[in-house]
């Protein structure tokens, strides 16, 4: 920047340009008159030609020409011999304008307009494009126009793919060409065009992109394309059922409110005041259309003919990975202690569709047994405090009942995994060579994760996790500016590892003695910053996530059986971060002590979070009526707590937890029995 001379304009240049400006001005005012008076004579049209060649940005002149062409065409009739010269002239004007400025929106658009009139020759257009794309291979106007021409003239996508080959061979840093390649291949692969079966084509594409990546690992183009390819390899179009609760072959004891006095049992015991239990379906991608029409249930349990299926999602949308229906088990007449088989079938009639429009197509059914038991009301144990320090019994790792709780393997039989695994394996081999660079390490970690997700064979499952965790540790040290991202990925990999076998999971599983032998999972003190693998943990009733680095509870909404949750000593910063818990209707005990709630203000005034209090459907709400000031102050807490049915809450050790807030909590949750370890009012 220092002293680089600017080109000073010479006086004679200025004089010449001034003269030119005068001339231009008179042309323009003449044109404006023609335009406003709708004069489309030959002379008038020629004037607009002249102007556009000087200034292709003059969009008013482009529009004038469109009107003029329409006018001429309406007078000469449909004779192609007369139409052709008129449209040819338009193409010529555009071409000259583009020579002046090939980034002119108006000129490119005018050409599209002419072509849409049915006047085109693919050959000519592609020749012209070639010229411009040679001049600037990244010109997005030209690429857009190219896609337009191809679509309009039904030019084959294979030919276009060949063109991207040529462009990439010429300059592998041309990301526009890579991008167009991904657009073309997406379409060719989706339509199963001849020679475009994914199992053959995707491995070939990996080969092609390697050349770019290995020639210059610093070039971004190839990496983006590689990421796209990895997505194509891993993602399966049709949605699949990943897991369910109850799972296939399992049995569940159901009872009413209160505790069972029976002996400890190795099956899950589920108590509910409402006499219904959740049936959870977990899909590998967000789907819509789960209903009694698409999911049929055969059982002797009465009153479940018209089940309501609810998508569990924080967005108020009708698609979700998780769907829940509540099955009644206490019908009008008491049925006594009895076993009932429940058979769930889905996929037999169409209707379950992914958000990208693919059908759930592989029919699937599973069966489980429920044992309905009468209960002895025991109000005392309802009131007792749940402790997170004792009362836990380690799971018997040898016992077989663990397997009946959850299916370890995803229910993805029937997908063609073979070529996908082979492609990932060969990529892994390849990228071990590039594992010195950050992007190389990250890609390798992703490939290893993808490989694990596809491995079904128990003998080799889990072999990569140590390496993945080490890669993320390396990355955290190497690239501190993205530390948090690597940390989150590390947490995800760790949780995948824990849930990869019943042996590793059983190390964290316990029974909580005091409450019907609740199934408890303890994942405390693991520096987790993100929750994952929830689909394998649907059976968990008590979850200890204390002493981690979690910022939110996102993901836990799928755990519909959860009745006790410990989040103490984490990094929760507001009640909004607990929003997903509103879906967990069973939750009775929540510990969020020693977090950062109240320390950071939540900005509700600007941008997106238009105050939730403004569009209120709860004006008649009791608490708000009594105490509008406190509701406004603690709105984020209010929205979460009023939807929960808590008996025990711990909020000590948060900035927010003062006397005023405690009294507010008791207004919002009047049934609360324990607050911060004490009975309110004592």
């Amino acid at each position: 920047m220092h002293g680089r001379p600017r080109k000073a304009s010479k006086p004679e240049d200025e004089a010449a340009s001034a003269a030119k400006a005068v001339k231009l001005r008179s042309l323009q005012s003449q044109f404006m008159t023609y335009h406003h008076e709708k004069i489309y004579t030959k002379e008038a049209i020629e004037l607009s030609t002249k102007l556009l060649e000087i200034n292709p940005e003059a969009y008013t002149a482009w529009n004038y020409r469109k009107l003029a062409v329409e006018d001429s065409l309406s007078r000469i009739g449909p004779d192609p011999n007369l139409v052709k010269p008129i449209l040819d002239e338009e193409l010529r004007v555009v071409e000259n304008a583009l020579k002046q400025n090939f980034k002119s929106y108006g000129a490119w658009h005018h050409r599209k307009w002419v072509l849409s009139k049915g006047h085109s020759s693919t050959g000519n257009e592609l020749k012209l494009l070639d010229k411009f794309q040679k001049l600037d291979s990244r010109n997005f106007h030209a690429w857009n126009y190219r896609r337009f021409v191809v679509e309009l003239t039904n030019r084959s996508e294979q030919d276009e793919l060949q063109y991207t080959d040529d462009m990439i061979n010429n300059n592998f840093s041309n990301y526009s060409a890579w991008h167009n390649r991904s657009v073309l291949l997406s379409s060719l692969l989706a339509n199963r065009a001849d020679g475009f079966m994914p199992e053959k084509r995707i491995p070939d594409e990996f080969e092609i992109v390697h050349q770019a990546i290995f020639t210059d690992p610093d070039d971004q183009s190839g990496w983006f394309y590689h990421l796209w390819l990895l997505d194509q390899t891993v993602n399966v179009e049709s949605p699949l059922l990943t897991s369910s609760w109850p799972s296939h072959g399992s049995s569940v004891i159901l009872s009413g409110a209160g505790c069972l006095n029976g002996p400890p049992s190795n099956v899950t015991t589920f108590c509910s005041e409402t006499g219904s239990f959740p049936l959870i379906l977990y899909f590998d991608q967000a789907v819509g259309g789960v209903s009694p029409l698409t999911v049929t249930i055969d059982s002797e349990l009465k009153g479940n003919e018209n089940l309501v299926w609810e998508p569990i999602s924080n967005k108020s949308s009708q698609v979700s990975c998780v769907w829940v229906a509540r099955l009644k088990y206490f019908s009008s007449q008491p049925c006594g202690s009895k076993d009932h088989k429940v058979k769930v079938r889905l996929g037999n009639s169409p209707g379950i569709v992914s958000s990208r429009g693919y059908n759930f197509s592989a029919p699937y059914e599973f069966v489980f047994t429920v044992h309905v038991q009468d209960t002895a009301e025991d109000s005392h144990s309802q009131e007792s405090i749940v402790s997170w320090t004792d009362g836990f019994e380690l799971w018997d790792a040898q016992s077989k009942d663990l397997n009946s709780l959850f299916t370890l393997d995803q229910l993805n039989n029937g997908i063609d995994l073979k070529w996908r695994q082979a492609a990932i394996d060969s990529e892994i081999e390849c990228f071990r060579l590039l594992a010195d660079s950050k992007i190389g390490k990250l890609t390798l970690a992703r490939l290893l994760m993808a490989s694990e997700a596809m491995t079904l064979d128990a003998a080799v499952k889990g072999v990569y996790y140590e390496e993945i965790l080490q890669l993320y540790n390396d990355l955290m040290a190497l690239d501190s500016s993205h530390h948090q991202y690597y940390k989150n990925e590390h947490s995800v990999a760790f949780l995948h590892k824990v849930t990869s076998s019943s042996e590793s999971l059983s190390r964290h599983l316990f029974r909580y003695r005091d409450m019907n032998n609740l199934v408890c999972l303890r994942l405390n003190k693991l520096s987790l910053s993100r929750i994952a693998s929830v689909e394998k943990l649907l059976f968990v009733q008590m979850l200890d996530l204390s002493h981690n680095e979690l910022h939110s509870t996102e993901g836990l909404e799928a755990m519909q059986l959860l009745s006790c949750l410990n989040l103490s000593h984490n990094r929760i910063r507001s009640f909004s971060a607990l929003d997903s818990l509103r879906h967990v209707k069973q939750l009775k005990v929540l510990d969020v002590s020693h977090n950062h709630i109240g320390k950071h203000s939540v900005d509700t005034t600007r941008y997106l979070c238009s105050s939730p209090l403004s569009n209120s459907d709860w004006s008649q709400d009791g608490v708000r009526g009594q105490n509008p000031g406190l509701v406004t102050k603690y709105w984020d807490a209010y929205f979460v707590l009023r939807d929960l049915n808590l008996k025990q809450l711990d909020i000590a050790g948060n900035e927010i937890a003062d006397d005023e807030f405690s009294s507010f909590v008791l207004q919002v949750v009047p049934k609360l029995v324990w607050l911060n370890g004490q009975k309110p009012g004592n």
């Binding site: 220092h2 929106y105 857009n144 300059n171 983006f224 910053s529 910022h551 203000s601 941008y607």
Partner: protein
């Protein structure tokens, strides 16, 4: 690999740019402190001279088919406003009068008097008038006719056309919605199907292209994201990948590139940094900063050679404390209160690096800003370099009501520019005035 790598054309160009930029950085590093201070100085007087001169010439060198006069008005007036100045009454009146003549009898503004109304120039004219402010400027906009014009530009597919028979793209959608939002004439008819259209333009890279099928592009990413926020459908975008893409367009030069593997350009200082800050404020409002900042290393290793701050997190209490300590010492009226600490966050891009690129490589010594070294200055780049500089200076704050700390502003604190409303890119005070005015007008 067997064969020697041959430089592609793009690589050669990139190499030349890096050579220029690192040449300047090298000179800067080797200079003494006072030279460095001088080089980082924004040179308000020079900037104002350049802008005022340009503004006066606007009237004189006008030719009736020039399609960007309202844009020049906006670029210059907004740049002046960013510097905390304004033009005198006479010039303001001229501008109001001129823009009035660009307003079509059926609503909207054209590129000049008598020209077809066009959404982009409509946006520029409205933003220019909002920047001028006051009853005279604001009342000159015909809201009823504008509302009709916007409806005429609405396409059945959900998007907007730039003008009658014109092209449809994300820019058109943004300019229409930005205007509708400021003038308080937004309704269901304008937003119908719009979210789906924008969504169809987000690519697997994460950014947003100009039309369906196009590759992701900085300007369109800003336009698309701001539109989705304004119509309250931002949740349906893939925000993680958008953030990831935008953040990694910051390259070794510390300026932003507009598209994957393109050269750095000063104007993207605004187009790319603004989406980053918008998303960050969005996440902080939802308290999901960490979930959202999963901006993966998609660029090259060189992309993020270690910057100044190892902490990605904004809940690092120690650094927060440090910030506020400094704040109370530097004497800019910043008080050490807990509310103040709460309003800070760590930008997801290298804000000081970005400011360095703009001030050393884009700024011209005698006023104005440019794309990159060896390019001429112009008002477009001046406007978006200054806007972006303001965004970078305020990137640590969750709202724009709090002043940045000295350490947020590269160079002397007198470089501090006025904060902008990120969704419309007008100076925040003028934006507030307009919002209040049009709220009453409804």
């Amino acid at each position: 690999m067997e064969e020697l790598p041959i430089l592609t054309v793009s690589q050669r160009e990139q190499f030349l740019v890096e050579n220029d930029v690192f040449g300047i950085f090298g000179y800067f590093e080797a200079s003494d402190v006072s030279t460095q201070r001088y080089m980082l100085e924004i040179q308000r007087d020079k900037q104002l001279d350049y802008l005022m001169k340009g503004f006066r010439q606007l009237g004189r060198e006008f030719s009736s088919l020039d399609a960007n006069r309202p844009w020049l008005c906006y670029w210059i007036l907004h740049s002046i406003a960013l510097l905390g100045e304004s033009v005198d009454d006479e010039l303001e009146n001229n501008a109001i009068e001129f823009l009035g003549r660009c307003q079509g009898s059926d609503g909207g503004y054209g590129g000049g008097p008598g020209q077809l109304p066009h959404l982009a120039t409509t946006y520029a004219a409205v933003n220019a008038l909002v920047t001028i402010g006051g009853d005279k400027a604001l009342s000159s906009i015909n809201r009823e006719k504008m509302s009709c014009f916007l409806r005429r530009m609405k396409d059945r597919s959900g998007g907007f056309r730039m003008h009658d028979m014109g092209e449809m793209d994300v820019r058109a959608c943004y300019t229409a919605i930005s205007v509708a939002s400021i003038l308080n004439i937004m309704d269901d008819e304008l937003t119908r199907g719009l979210g789906e259209y924008i969504l169809s333009c987000q690519t697997y890279e994460g950014g947003i292209g100009g039309e369906p099928g196009s590759e992701a592009h900085g300007g369109n990413t800003y336009c698309g994201l701001a539109t989705m926020i304004l119509i309250n459908e931002v949740d349906s975008l893939n925000l993680d990948s958008l953030m990831n893409w935008a953040v990694h367009r910051q390259g070794v030069e510390m300026g932003f590139q507009g598209r994957t593997n393109k050269l750095v350009d000063g104007c993207y200082t605004f187009w790319q940094a603004a989406p980053c800050v918008l998303l960050q404020r969005f996440y902080s409002a939802h308290d999901l900063v960490h979930h959202g900042s999963s901006h993966i290393s998609q660029g090259t290793d060189k992309d993020h050679e270690d910057h100044h701050d190892p902490e990605d997190s904004d809940d690092d209490d120690d650094s927060d404390e440090e910030d506020s300590d400094e704040g109370s010492v530097n004497g800019h009226g910043v008080h050490h209160t807990s509310t103040y600490i709460n309003r800070r966050m760590q930008p997801v891009f290298d804000s000081l690096g970005l400011q360095r690129y703009v001030l050393l490589c884009s700024k011209m010594p005698d006023g104005g800003f440019r794309d990159k070294p060896r390019k001429p200055r112009d008002f477009y780049h001046t406007c978006y370099c200054l806007s972006g500089l303001s965004v970078a200076q305020h990137a640590w704050l969750k709202d724009e009501d709090t002043p940045p700390l000295t350490r947020d502003v590269l160079g002397s604190y007198s470089n501090l520019l006025e904060p902008v409303d990120l969704l419309h890119n007008v100076v925040i005070d003028r934006y507030n005035e307009a919002i209040e005015y049009f709220f009453k007008a409804a």
